[in-house]
């Protein structure tokens, strides 16, 4: 089987972000980066599928700056076979423009399955996967937490608000991965050594024209620390009173 996975380099979120001088970007000073959470699960899904259907090949693709090679290397050390870096120093806040660049790379690759994360935790958009599927005219199932692929077709489950949907689809297909599908493996020492010799191709990203622009970025208002109403069950009457009279939520 030929499988592709699109992975994004995203900042580690355990920091206090600052807005850049232009007022419409993130100040990157001091930020650390990793593979987007959902994309790690997408890589794991690809590796497991490939292991079940050997021989095969898993290609990881990332659009980003030179440094995104680190994230591709991580996927290679988990077990992916080859990597493609679509080089772009800036990414527009427009999923379609990014999707066009990824589709240009994936088109003609004859992949049986192309995996995406459900969403990138920086853009929090949840758009690129189904857009690429549409641009390539492939069947697509989004936000999958259970997946079964065999004999040229698949069954997937996805969560709706308060319900679960079961979906059937033929291959080739695009799948976007939700949490719960699997737990990603950690790169082994052997994997890390092997990754150094795996092929990584770099080419310029063919980003589409952006129809969505970032007019402004702001930090949300800080939540003022509240108060401790009291200790133990004795504090309950006071809490209920505050919820009624002050917060007016009961």
């Amino acid at each position: 089987m030929k499988i592709a996975v699109c992975i994004k380099r995203v900042p580690v979120m355990e920091v206090k972000f600052a807005i850049g001088k232009d007022g419409a970007s993130v100040d990157e000073t001091g930020l650390k980066y990793d593979v987007n959470d959902f994309d790690l699960w997408a890589v794991e899904a690809a590796l497991q599928l490939n292991e079940k259907n050997a021989p095969g090949e898993v290609t990881v693709v990332s659009l980003g700056p030179d440094a995104a090679a680190e994230q591709l290397r991580k996927a290679l050390s988990m077990g992916a076979d080859r990597a493609v870096l679509l080089k772009a120093d800036k990414q527009p806040p427009d999923g379609l423009a990014v999707a066009e660049a990824l589709a240009a790379e994936l088109r003609g690759g004859n992949y049986d399955v192309i995996f995406f994360g459900k969403k990138a935790i920086d853009s929090d958009a949840q758009t690129v996967g189904p857009m690429v599927a549409e641009l390539l005219d492939l069947p697509c199932v989004t936000s999958v937490f259970k997946l079964d692929i065999a004999g040229g077709k698949g069954t997937a489950q996805r969560a709706l608000e308060g319900a679960t949907e079961t979906v059937e689809f033929p291959l080739p297909a695009v799948i976007t991965v939700d949490e719960g599908l699997n737990k990603e493996r950690l790169p082994s020492l052997k994997g890390i050594m092997a990754a150094k010799k795996k092929p990584m191709e770099t080419k310029p990203a063919q980003i589409g024209t952006a129809g969505v622009t970032m007019a402004k970025m702001e930090l949300p208002p800080e939540r003022g620390a509240g108060r401790i109403v009291g200790q133990g069950a004795a504090a309950v009457p006071e809490l209920v009173k505050l919820l009624q009279t002050e917060a007016k939520v009961i």
């Binding site: 900042p11 959470d37 959902f38 999923g95 379609l96 999707a99 935790i121 929090d124 958009a125 949840q126 690129v128 189904p130 857009m131 599927a133 549409e134 641009l135 697509c140 989004t142 936000s143 996805r158 709706l160 608000e161 308060g162 949907e165 079961t166 979906v167 059937e168 689809f169 949490e179 952006a210 129809g211 969505v212 622009t213 970032m214 007019a215 402004k216 970025m217 930090l219 949300p220 939540r223 620390a225 509240g226 108060r227 401790i228 109403v229 009291g230 200790q231 133990g232 069950a233 504090a235 309950v236 009457p237 809490l239 209920v240 505050l242 919820l243 009624q244 917060a247 939520v249 009961i250």
Partner: protein
């Protein structure tokens, strides 16, 4: 003066609140861009036209009805093709979708078909000259972006609860629309929809959420959380990843960076430490209450009201007191 399109989500032949919010958002945009019409499209098995009256009440001038037996479940390919065709022929200024599981699946497909810009997951909308600007939380809620679209049609999806449903009666002229592709021939087929927690409000729509963490210590003890939720009457139950990892609750109830993002009137965090990934999913709640035995727990830094104490003692007492307050109120 331009018209605005709204996609109305349905499930099991019923309209959903998300759909009414989409129509309300479209109404807002139409009124702010010169008072054009709102055209609401609703798709489903024959009989779905019955939803029209409700859509007219909240501002639909025209209800576009797509009926086909193979649309009984959400049919991503046929609906995307039909919606895209209609947006093209209708010459709309904007098209509004819900930022729900269904809307987040549908809107990017339509955007790619039309090569049209899509601003996802809006919590607020504004018209600024000839541009539409939406506010969109990013970076796990730590940054709010203002996304701007000048071109027509501008596609946007709106977060559940972001736009209030307001009565604004319009004619709701019905118009039948044929599916643009044969729904029965779609490659991707929804074969089953299993409703969970029937009768319970969804996390995205619940005005009150009671969420439990590892402090509950077992799946069984979650009945305390459920009892507290029941005492409010209109509450949904949420959980942390520690809890869903343990299998005490399903992942669909997880709130946070990799789970649901919610913003209820009241969020009660029970036995939850307040890890940054959890805060990412609930920090915009209107009022936050925390119950934790550790007074240093980070959840107290975002809580409006805290009780330092044992959940096994405080939660039953709180459930009882809320029930009393409701009965007297």
């Amino acid at each position: 003066m331009a018209n605005v399109f709204a996609y109305v989500e349905t499930r099991g032949g019923e309209g959903r609140k998300a759909g009414l919010e989409a129509v309300s958002a479209a109404r807002l945009l139409a009124d702010q861009t010169g008072g054009g019409e709102v055209h609401a499209l609703v798709a489903g098995a024959p009989g779905i036209a019955g939803q029209s009256a409700r859509l007219a009440e909240v501002g639909a001038d025209v209800v576009l009805v797509v009926e086909h037996a193979a649309l009984a479940h959400y049919n991503p390919e046929a609906i995307a093709a039909t919606v895209a065709a209609r947006i093209t022929s209708g010459g709309y200024r904007a098209a509004v979708f819900s930022a729900t599981s269904q809307g987040k699946d549908l809107s990017p497909r339509v955007a790619a078909k039309l090569r049209a810009p899509l601003a996802p997951d809006a919590v607020a909308l504004a018209v600024d000259g000839d541009a539409i600007v939406v506010r969109h939380p990013m970076y796990t809620g730590k940054i709010i972006g203002s996304l701007k679209i000048t071109a027509s049609p501008a596609l946007l999806s709106i977060r559940l609860g972001a736009i209030p449903v307001t009565p604004n009666a319009k004619a709701g002229r019905m118009e039948q629309v044929q599916p643009a592709t044969d729904p029965a021939a779609a490659r991707v087929k929804v074969t089953q929809v299993v409703e969970g927690n029937t009768g319970k409000v969804d996390l995205g729509e619940a005005p009150v959420i009671v969420a439990g963490g590892r402090g509950l210590k077992s799946a069984d003890n979650f009945k305390l959380v459920e009892q507290l939720a029941d005492s409010f009457g209109n509450a949904a139950v949420g959980a942390t990843r520690a809890v869903t990892d343990e299998g005490w609750r399903p992942h669909s109830e997880q709130i946070g960076q990799t789970g649901r993002v919610v913003s209820p009137e009241l969020y009660v965090a029970v036995g939850i430490s307040g890890a940054i990934q959890h805060l990412a999913g609930m920090r915009t709640s209107k009022t936050i209450v925390a119950i934790n035995k550790d007074k240093e727990a980070p959840i107290f830094k975002v809580a409006d009201y805290g009780i330092v104490g044992d959940v096994f003692e405080v939660v039953p007492a709180l459930a009882e007191a809320v029930k009393q307050a409701k009965a007297n109120g």
